[in-house]
């Protein structure tokens, strides 16, 4: 036995070169997807935030003398049927839609991640009940459910928040639950539990940081989904109410002039598409960067 005992100094294995994983920043700078998404999204967000500075006109100011004018020096993107400046409206609409998109995702994200983590870790009866609720919500066609809920709780932003709050958490709950269930059977979770750490600590400090990336990545595309839903609701007249500008109602209003003034609908439509592309790229890029090795 004693022959096997060596001093710790002799136990050192040669390992001079440490394969260091590049830092988050350097990985981010080397991901074209992430870069493209970040640049596009930042630009759109910056434009929306700067709306009061670069908007030049109030988004609701009407100028009935100059309706449906094409792009000009005074109105870069022209005016709509009430003579409102389209550039300004586009920027302010971006403000509204992005804000609603982010806020509407915030609650489902946090609630869903919480529920999913708890269900995945503890399992049992509560888990079965919650997952059946999730199944029921998922079984409904998404838009039918949202439209019905908005009808019930009322048209406008608060209706959108409540409708999404009630339905959208299920997706986060389901993905986080499966991630947690996988994590909980892994050795390092057992090691942490065996090491005497409290379950709360194991759950929030060990498991959650590993499972939350999936939810964050999904949240990016979810913002796009919400914006699309807001735009769709706006188009149906159930979303943001006039005169507050929003891309959906701009498309809906512009539709009347689709034969003569195509840009009225095309410009806000393009804004929606660009925002969607930006956030999707950002989500994909984040998924690549955050994925644990």
């Amino acid at each position: 036995m004693s022959a096997a005992i060596t001093s710790p100094a002799r136990l050192i294995e040669p390992e001079h070169a440490v394969a260091r994983r590049p830092s988050f920043r350097s990985r981010a700078l080397h991901s074209p997807t992430f870069l493209a998404g970040a640049i596009l999204t930042t630009t759109i967000v910056a434009l929306a935030l700067l709306a009061p500075v670069i908007g030049r006109y109030s988004p609701v100011a009407q100028d009935l003398m100059h309706t449906l004018s094409g792009p000009s020096g005074a109105h870069w993107l022209g005016t709509d049927e009430l003579g409102r400046d389209i550039w300004s409206r586009l920027l302010y609409a971006g403000r509204t839609d992005l804000q609603v998109g982010v806020l509407a995702v915030l609650f489902p994200f946090s609630f869903g991640v919480f529920i999913g983590t708890v269900c995945g870790y503890f399992g049992g009866r509560v888990d079965s009940i919650v997952m059946r609720i999730v199944d029921v919500v998922l079984a409904f066609p998404f838009y039918v459910l949202i439209i019905a809920l908005v009808f019930v709780v009322g048209v406008g932003t608060h209706g959108i928040y409540i409708a999404f709050g009630l339905t959208d958490w299920v997706v986060y709950a389901r993905t986080t639950r499966s991630g947690t269930m996988v994590a909980r059977s892994l050795d390092w979770v057992a090691a942490a539990e065996g090491g005497g750490l409290s379950r709360t600590r194991v759950l929030w400090r060990h498991i959650l940081p590993n499972t939350i990336t999936q939810a964050i990545v999904y949240a990016m595309s979810d913002i796009v989904l919400v914006i699309l839903a807001v735009v769709t609701l706006g188009y149906l007249g159930l979303g943001i109410q006039p005169p507050a500008p929003d891309w959906g109602s701009m498309i809906s209003d512009g539709q009347n002039f689709i034969q003569t003034n195509q840009w009225l609908a095309a410009i806000p439509g393009l804004a929606v598409v660009l925002t969607g592309i930006g956030l999707s790229l950002l989500g994909d890029g984040l998924a690549d960067i955050l994925r644990p090795e």
């Binding site: 096997a4 005992i5 710790p8 100094a9 050192i12 294995e13 892994l186 057992a190 065996g194 060990h206």
Partner: protein
């Protein structure tokens, strides 16, 4: 002196599909203070489950149906809580797993993982836990511990990860270290280093070890006591040296015959005929009987128990005398 760890009649039931079977069936052993016990057996014989049951970390579908775990005179609460024993008790034990990558949290630095138990279990301050983590990294033979503190698991080699795993296990200052095949996933040179480290720690930290492995080659290096496990039961226990020299259970001698021996390369390793029985179809009598060359009709009917067959040496075989007689005449079995 009372043993540091006593396990009495441990029974683990596993649910598979709709059937329940005993994956660990009445395992008992005692570990002396500062002692080391190796448990060997084929994959699936229940040796890892035994360790997890002792730690209170049974996987889903597993249930501790009976048995007591007494550590340092204190009986652990192995009752209803399922995963993890009550606070404070298990601090006396830590476990080291087989695969050091999956046993480390991929998104936390190794230093923080080591410092966590001192900070949140032992209640040390932030800088004290940090200092302790660095000291543990140094103790397990990791060079430049201050720098390695900030490394993530995937940045380290397999051997270093296993050292980190051992450092984490030691961070709660246990008196018993349970090792679940800690060297199986490592290559042979690193394996030797880790075994040497464990031997070193035994002396340095007066640790007691339970070492589960399927590799008979490492047994004599780490443990002076050996327990052989087959289909969830201990079939032979005793001092490592005498058990390896003169096994009294046909399964043990079969395992030895199946191992490659560097000293006698001309000897071909002999496989044990047959394979592990389906745990769902275990019958009465000796579980090894269908594969045993000494089996007689009464082996199928009599329940065999561990019986004393030599000084401090127990075997669960009706024909342990036949085996020892065969060895006496030099007949290789």
């Amino acid at each position: 002196m009372t043993p540091i760890l006593e396990v009495e009649g441990l029974v683990v039931e596993m649910r598979r599909h709709r059937t329940v079977f005993r994956a660990v069936d009445g395992v008992s052993f005692a570990l002396e203070r500062g002692g080391a016990l190796a448990i060997v057996g084929e994959s699936g014989c229940g040796k890892s489950l035994t360790l997890r049951a002792i730690m209170g970390l049974l996987p889903n579908g597993g249930r501790l149906a009976a048995g007591r775990v007494i550590i340092d005179g204190v009986t652990l609460d192995t009752g209803a809580r399922g995963r993890g024993h009550g606070h404070g008790q298990h601090r006396r034990m830590s476990i080291v797993f087989q695969d050091p990558l999956s046993a480390l949290n991929p998104v936390a630095t190794v230093g923080n993982q080591i410092a966590e138990a001192p900070r949140h279990v032992l209640g040390l301050g932030r800088s004290a836990s940090r200092a302790r983590a660095v000291e543990l990294l140094r103790l397990v033979g990791i060079p430049d511990p201050e720098r390695r503190y900030h490394a993530y698991p995937h940045e380290l080699s397999g051997g270093t990860r296993q050292r980190v795993m051992i450092a984490i296990a030691l961070s709660s200052d246990p008196s018993v270290l349970l090792c679940d095949e800690p060297t199986t996933a490592l290559d042979v040179t690193i394996q030797t280093q880790i075994l040497a480290l464990l031997a070193h720690l035994r002396v340095e930290r007066s640790l007691s070890l339970v070492f589960v492995t399927h590799d008979l080659g490492v047994v004599s290096q780490v443990a002076e006591r050996l327990a052989v496990m087959y289909t969830g039961r201990l079939v032979e226990t005793g001092p490592t040296a005498s058990l390896l020299a003169a096994p009294r259970h046909p399964y043990t001698s079969g395992l030895l015959a199946a191992a490659l021996d560097v000293d006698t390369p001309e000897r071909e390793p002999l496989a044990i005929p047959g394979s592990l029985p389906d745990p769902l179809r275990l019958t009465n009598g000796c579980a090894f009987q269908p594969r045993c060359q000494f089996a007689t009709p009464e082996c199928t009917t009599t329940d065999v128990r561990l019986e004393l067959v030599g000084p401090d040496h127990q075997a669960a075989c009706l024909h342990s005398d036949v085996l020892s007689a065969a060895q006496a005449v030099g007949h290789h079995v």
